[in-house]
């Protein structure tokens, strides 16, 4: 299916948020995720299905002021 991951269109095989992170090779323990603007806690990723056109945000620690 086709998703928008961090603002970029992407064709993926994954059907859950958890599987998506594995598919694109993200360090699972150190990122946080949101699906269509809603926070998805780490423990709920495996039970969160993805649908065509969904917007996924994957964020990591960064410098800040």
């Amino acid at each position: 299916m086709r998703l928008e991951v961090n603002g970029t269109a992407r064709e993926v095989a994954a059907e859950t948020l958890d599987a998506l992170l594995v598919e694109i090779g993200v360090d699972l323990a150190s990122v946080a995720t949101a699906l269509d603007g809603e926070f998805v806690p780490r423990g709920q990723r495996a039970a969160t299905p993805l649908t065509d056109g969904a917007r996924v945000e994957i964020v990591a620690p960064m410098q800040g002021g």
């Binding site: 961090n6 603002g7 993200v26 360090d27 150190s30 990122v31 946080a32 995720t33 949101a34 603007g37 809603e38 926070f39 806690p41 780490r42 945000e57 994957i58 964020v59 990591a60 620690p61 960064m62 410098q63 800040g64 002021g65």
Partner: protein
Amino acid sequence: MFYGIDLSSRLMLGTAQYPSPRVLAEAIAASGAEVITVSLRREGAGGGAFREILKGLNCRPLPNTAGCHSVKEAVTTAQMAREVFGTNWIKLEVIGHADTLQPDPFALVEAARVLCADGFEVFPYTTEDLIVGERLLEAGCKVLMPWGAPIGSGQGLRNRDGLRTMRAHFAGVPLVVDAGIGAPSQAAEAMEMGFDAVLLNTAVAKALDPVAMARAFGQAVAAGQAAHTAGLMPKRDMAEASTPIFGMAELV
């Protein structure tokens, strides 16, 4: 006390815009800061590297919601930050204006209410407005962070009288001057006025020598705090000789 945490250094330091990770680490060490602000950005923009740096710094992270313009953005960002950084602390920024980066007080209070109810310990970036401050306390905030001047502007304390009034009005509430500080003298001034801490980033990161400037800020904040504790003398309109008149020789 900031949500039950006592800090020996009252300088909180931002981690952005340093010339290199090594300079960042050395600047934090030189400043003596125990609290550093951090952010969340899209994975892939160098997050892995920063994660490693963060581990070595041994400081308490204060994640921010920088760049958020709405309640929803700020709340979602805070929720993600809590998971990633493992802290309930959140520097809540809800920006209302692109040029001044002035907080949107209405959205700020609403976001603070949502987050406090959800167990967050909120450090709201606000203005010196007393009513907004009261609303933030009602929402559950136990710290307020009024701006000194617009973020990154280096203008110092742009509304001294307003900040002084705020300090007097919120006696007993930890107040942190956040943003706009450009020089150690300005940080010292905020501390002399009785503010509990100062939060800054650009003034150190963009200095010619960030490590030396970080040290200077650490010293200035400590000096200002010590001066406030010692009690400043009251101002007078006219001079008052400090050397005694009594016993002066008659030489005319």
